[in-house]
Protein backbone atom coordinates (compact mmCIF):
# COMPACT_ATOMS: atom_id res chain seq x y z
CA UNK A 1 0.00 0.00 0.00
CA UNK A 2 2.80 2.40 0.89
CA UNK A 3 4.59 1.74 -2.37
CA UNK A 4 1.39 2.44 -4.32
CA UNK A 5 1.00 5.85 -2.63
CA UNK A 6 4.70 6.60 -3.25
CA UNK A 7 4.27 5.64 -6.90
CA UNK A 8 1.34 8.00 -7.42
CA UNK A 9 3.10 10.89 -5.68
CA UNK A 10 6.22 10.33 -7.79
CA UNK A 11 4.15 9.97 -10.95
CA UNK A 12 2.41 13.29 -10.27
CA UNK A 13 5.79 14.94 -9.58
CA UNK A 14 7.37 13.54 -12.75
CA UNK A 15 4.46 14.38 -15.05
CA UNK A 16 4.01 17.84 -13.50
CA UNK A 17 7.68 18.73 -13.91
CA UNK A 18 7.63 17.45 -17.49
CA UNK A 19 4.64 19.66 -18.30
CA UNK A 20 6.40 22.57 -16.58
CA UNK A 21 9.50 22.02 -18.70
CA UNK A 22 7.45 22.16 -21.89
CA UNK A 23 5.22 25.09 -20.88
CA UNK A 24 7.57 27.58 -19.19
CA UNK A 25 9.10 30.15 -21.55
CA UNK A 26 12.34 30.64 -19.64
CA UNK A 27 14.81 27.79 -20.34
CA UNK A 28 16.39 28.17 -16.87
CA UNK A 29 13.06 27.20 -15.31
CA UNK A 30 12.93 24.38 -17.83
CA UNK A 31 16.35 23.14 -16.69
CA UNK A 32 15.25 23.20 -13.04
CA UNK A 33 12.08 21.28 -13.94
CA UNK A 34 14.29 18.82 -15.80
CA UNK A 35 16.32 18.22 -12.61
CA UNK A 36 13.11 17.55 -10.66
CA UNK A 37 11.93 15.19 -13.38
CA UNK A 38 15.22 13.26 -13.46
CA UNK A 39 15.25 12.98 -9.67
CA UNK A 40 11.69 11.63 -9.73
CA UNK A 41 12.63 9.05 -12.34
CA UNK A 42 15.63 8.06 -10.19
CA UNK A 43 13.26 7.47 -7.27
CA UNK A 44 11.07 5.35 -9.57
CA UNK A 45 14.15 3.27 -10.44
CA UNK A 46 14.72 2.77 -6.72
CA UNK A 47 11.13 1.57 -6.37
CA UNK A 48 11.81 -0.98 -9.12
CA UNK A 49 14.93 -2.17 -7.24
CA UNK A 50 17.28 -0.81 -9.89
CA UNK A 51 19.70 0.77 -7.41
CA UNK A 52 22.62 1.07 -9.82
CA UNK A 53 20.50 2.94 -12.34
CA UNK A 54 19.13 5.28 -9.68
CA UNK A 55 22.67 6.24 -8.67
CA UNK A 56 23.79 6.56 -12.30
CA UNK A 57 20.72 8.65 -13.08
CA UNK A 58 21.52 11.13 -10.30
CA UNK A 59 25.23 11.30 -11.18
CA UNK A 60 25.00 11.35 -14.97
CA UNK A 61 21.70 13.11 -15.64
CA UNK A 62 21.00 15.34 -12.67
CA UNK A 63 24.70 15.91 -12.04
CA UNK A 64 26.40 16.22 -15.39
CA UNK A 65 23.75 16.75 -18.06
CA UNK A 66 21.62 19.24 -16.14
CA UNK A 67 24.71 21.28 -15.21
CA UNK A 68 25.76 21.23 -18.85
CA UNK A 69 22.32 22.57 -19.81
CA UNK A 70 22.54 25.35 -17.22
CA UNK A 71 26.02 26.30 -18.46
CA UNK A 72 24.78 26.41 -22.06
CA UNK A 73 21.82 28.59 -21.07
CA UNK A 74 24.14 30.95 -19.20
CA UNK A 75 26.47 31.20 -22.22
CA UNK A 76 23.51 31.89 -24.52
CA UNK A 77 21.79 34.52 -22.35
CA UNK A 78 20.72 36.81 -25.22
CA UNK A 79 19.03 33.88 -26.92
CA UNK A 80 17.24 32.55 -23.89
CA UNK A 81 13.74 33.94 -24.43
CA UNK A 82 11.51 33.08 -27.31
CA UNK A 83 10.54 36.51 -28.49
CA UNK A 84 8.98 38.03 -31.56
CA UNK A 85 6.03 36.85 -33.60
CA UNK A 86 5.82 33.19 -34.30
CA UNK A 87 6.03 32.63 -38.07
CA UNK A 88 4.70 29.09 -37.86
CA UNK A 89 1.91 29.54 -35.30
CA UNK A 90 -0.67 27.67 -37.36
CA UNK A 91 1.59 24.65 -37.67
CA UNK A 92 2.33 24.77 -33.96
CA UNK A 93 -1.33 24.38 -33.03
CA UNK A 94 -1.27 21.13 -34.99
CA UNK A 95 1.26 19.77 -32.49
CA UNK A 96 -1.25 19.26 -29.68
CA UNK A 97 -3.71 17.09 -31.66
CA UNK A 98 -0.75 15.19 -33.09
CA UNK A 99 0.51 14.57 -29.55
CA UNK A 100 -2.95 13.39 -28.53
CA UNK A 101 -3.01 11.08 -31.52
CA UNK A 102 0.37 9.62 -30.52
CA UNK A 103 -0.90 9.13 -26.96
CA UNK A 104 -3.97 7.31 -28.28
CA UNK A 105 -1.82 5.11 -30.48
CA UNK A 106 0.54 4.17 -27.64
CA UNK A 107 -2.46 3.49 -25.38
CA UNK A 108 -3.96 1.14 -27.97
CA UNK A 109 -0.67 -0.73 -28.42
CA UNK A 110 -0.23 -1.06 -24.66
CA UNK A 111 -3.81 -2.24 -24.20
CA UNK A 112 -3.37 -4.96 -26.79
CA UNK A 113 -0.06 -6.28 -25.44
CA UNK A 114 1.13 -5.15 -22.02
CA UNK A 115 -2.08 -4.74 -20.11
CA UNK A 116 -3.67 -8.02 -21.21
CA UNK A 117 -1.34 -10.35 -19.29
CA UNK A 118 -0.84 -9.29 -15.72
CA UNK A 119 2.20 -11.19 -14.60
CA UNK A 120 3.20 -11.18 -10.97
CA UNK A 121 6.12 -8.80 -10.49
CA UNK A 122 9.33 -10.76 -10.68
CA UNK A 123 12.28 -9.53 -8.69
CA UNK A 124 15.46 -8.78 -10.59
CA UNK A 125 18.15 -11.19 -9.39
CA UNK A 126 21.06 -9.57 -7.64
CA UNK A 127 20.50 -5.89 -8.44
CA UNK A 128 23.86 -4.16 -8.94
CA UNK A 129 25.75 -7.42 -9.12
CA UNK A 130 23.56 -8.77 -11.92
CA UNK A 131 23.91 -5.57 -13.96
CA UNK A 132 27.68 -5.50 -13.53
CA UNK A 133 27.99 -9.16 -14.49
CA UNK A 134 25.92 -8.57 -17.63
CA UNK A 135 27.89 -5.46 -18.60
CA UNK A 136 31.26 -7.20 -18.35
CA UNK A 137 30.27 -10.52 -19.90
CA UNK A 138 27.42 -10.48 -22.41
CA UNK A 139 27.65 -6.77 -23.19
CA UNK A 140 31.44 -6.36 -23.02
CA UNK A 141 31.83 -5.33 -26.66
CA UNK A 142 29.03 -2.70 -26.56
CA UNK A 143 30.55 -1.46 -23.32
CA UNK A 144 33.92 -0.86 -24.99
CA UNK A 145 32.24 0.73 -28.01
CA UNK A 146 30.43 3.08 -25.61
CA UNK A 147 33.73 4.19 -24.08
CA UNK A 148 34.99 4.90 -27.60
CA UNK A 149 31.79 6.86 -28.33
CA UNK A 150 32.34 9.02 -25.25
CA UNK A 151 35.94 9.69 -26.36
CA UNK A 152 34.70 10.66 -29.84
CA UNK A 153 32.12 13.00 -28.30
CA UNK A 154 34.82 14.60 -26.15
CA UNK A 155 37.08 15.29 -29.12
CA UNK A 156 34.16 16.38 -31.29
CA UNK A 157 32.97 18.92 -28.73
CA UNK A 158 36.45 20.41 -28.45
CA UNK A 159 36.74 20.63 -32.24
CA UNK A 160 33.26 22.19 -32.57
CA UNK A 161 33.61 24.91 -29.95
CA UNK A 162 37.21 25.89 -30.66
CA UNK A 163 37.49 29.53 -31.63
CA UNK A 164 39.18 30.22 -34.92
CA UNK A 165 42.74 31.51 -34.37
CA UNK A 166 42.41 34.53 -36.65
Amino acid sequence: MGSVIAFWILAALVVGSAVGLVVRRNPIHGALFLVVNLGGVAALYLMMHAEFLAAAQVIVYAGAIAVLFVFAIMVLIPGKEETGPDPLRAQRWLAVPLGGFLALEIALVLRSTVFTTSRSPATVPGGVEAVGRLLFTDYLFPFEVTSFLLLAALIGVMALTKRKAS
Binding site: P27, V60, L76, G99, R119, P121, V124, A130, L134
Partner: protein, 100 residues
Protein backbone atom coordinates in the same frame (compact mmCIF):
# COMPACT_ATOMS: atom_id res chain seq x y z
CA UNK B 1 3.79 -3.68 -5.02
CA UNK B 2 3.06 -1.56 -8.06
CA UNK B 3 2.58 -3.59 -11.28
CA UNK B 4 4.96 -2.80 -14.16
CA UNK B 5 2.09 -1.78 -16.40
CA UNK B 6 1.79 1.38 -14.27
CA UNK B 7 5.41 2.24 -14.96
CA UNK B 8 4.96 1.58 -18.67
CA UNK B 9 1.88 3.82 -18.79
CA UNK B 10 3.77 6.57 -16.94
CA UNK B 11 6.64 6.30 -19.39
CA UNK B 12 4.17 6.57 -22.30
CA UNK B 13 2.75 9.78 -20.79
CA UNK B 14 6.25 11.20 -20.33
CA UNK B 15 7.19 10.30 -23.89
CA UNK B 16 4.13 12.06 -25.32
CA UNK B 17 4.91 15.18 -23.26
CA UNK B 18 8.44 15.12 -24.67
CA UNK B 19 7.15 14.80 -28.23
CA UNK B 20 4.77 17.73 -27.75
CA UNK B 21 7.63 19.76 -26.29
CA UNK B 22 9.78 19.12 -29.35
CA UNK B 23 6.89 20.10 -31.62
CA UNK B 24 5.73 23.30 -29.93
CA UNK B 25 8.95 24.95 -28.71
CA UNK B 26 11.28 27.13 -30.78
CA UNK B 27 14.28 27.31 -28.47
CA UNK B 28 16.74 24.53 -29.40
CA UNK B 29 17.80 24.20 -25.74
CA UNK B 30 14.25 23.40 -24.66
CA UNK B 31 13.92 21.00 -27.58
CA UNK B 32 17.04 19.24 -26.33
CA UNK B 33 15.59 19.00 -22.84
CA UNK B 34 12.40 17.51 -24.30
CA UNK B 35 14.54 14.91 -26.09
CA UNK B 36 16.12 14.07 -22.72
CA UNK B 37 12.59 13.65 -21.39
CA UNK B 38 11.81 11.14 -24.14
CA UNK B 39 15.04 9.23 -23.50
CA UNK B 40 14.10 9.05 -19.82
CA UNK B 41 10.67 7.75 -20.67
CA UNK B 42 12.23 5.03 -22.82
CA UNK B 43 14.62 4.14 -19.98
CA UNK B 44 11.74 3.84 -17.55
CA UNK B 45 9.91 1.50 -19.94
CA UNK B 46 13.07 -0.58 -20.41
CA UNK B 47 13.55 -1.03 -16.66
CA UNK B 48 9.87 -1.91 -16.23
CA UNK B 49 9.98 -4.52 -19.00
CA UNK B 50 13.22 -5.93 -17.61
CA UNK B 51 11.58 -6.34 -14.23
CA UNK B 52 8.58 -7.94 -15.89
CA UNK B 53 10.79 -10.64 -17.37
CA UNK B 54 12.90 -11.01 -14.24
CA UNK B 55 16.24 -10.18 -15.86
CA UNK B 56 18.71 -7.34 -15.47
CA UNK B 57 19.12 -6.98 -19.24
CA UNK B 58 16.82 -3.98 -19.35
CA UNK B 59 18.98 -2.24 -16.78
CA UNK B 60 22.14 -2.98 -18.79
CA UNK B 61 20.48 -1.48 -21.86
CA UNK B 62 19.50 1.64 -19.90
CA UNK B 63 23.16 2.08 -18.97
CA UNK B 64 24.06 2.29 -22.67
CA UNK B 65 21.20 4.69 -23.35
CA UNK B 66 22.54 6.95 -20.59
CA UNK B 67 26.03 6.96 -22.13
CA UNK B 68 24.67 7.76 -25.57
CA UNK B 69 22.48 10.52 -24.09
CA UNK B 70 25.51 12.07 -22.38
CA UNK B 71 27.48 12.07 -25.63
CA UNK B 72 24.47 13.41 -27.54
CA UNK B 73 23.93 16.29 -25.12
CA UNK B 74 27.59 17.29 -25.20
CA UNK B 75 27.77 17.33 -29.01
CA UNK B 76 24.33 18.93 -29.41
CA UNK B 77 25.05 21.75 -26.99
CA UNK B 78 28.40 22.36 -28.71
CA UNK B 79 26.56 22.67 -32.05
CA UNK B 80 24.01 25.05 -30.52
CA UNK B 81 26.76 27.21 -29.00
CA UNK B 82 28.63 27.41 -32.30
CA UNK B 83 25.41 28.26 -34.19
CA UNK B 84 24.72 30.99 -31.64
CA UNK B 85 28.22 32.41 -32.12
CA UNK B 86 27.62 32.59 -35.84
CA UNK B 87 24.06 33.97 -35.94
CA UNK B 88 23.60 35.66 -32.51
CA UNK B 89 20.05 34.29 -32.38
CA UNK B 90 18.47 31.02 -31.41
CA UNK B 91 15.35 29.87 -33.17
CA UNK B 92 15.02 26.55 -34.91
CA UNK B 93 12.73 28.01 -37.57
CA UNK B 94 15.55 30.19 -38.86
CA UNK B 95 18.06 27.39 -39.07
CA UNK B 96 17.14 26.13 -42.50
CA UNK B 97 20.62 26.66 -43.94
CA UNK B 98 22.68 23.52 -44.38
CA UNK B 99 25.97 25.33 -45.09
CA UNK B 100 27.55 28.71 -44.52
Amino acid sequence: MVPESHYVALSAVLFVIGVVGVLIRRNPLVIFMSIELMLNAANLALVAFGQRHGTAQGQALVFFVMCVAAAEVAVGLAIIVSIFRMRRRLSVDELSLMRW
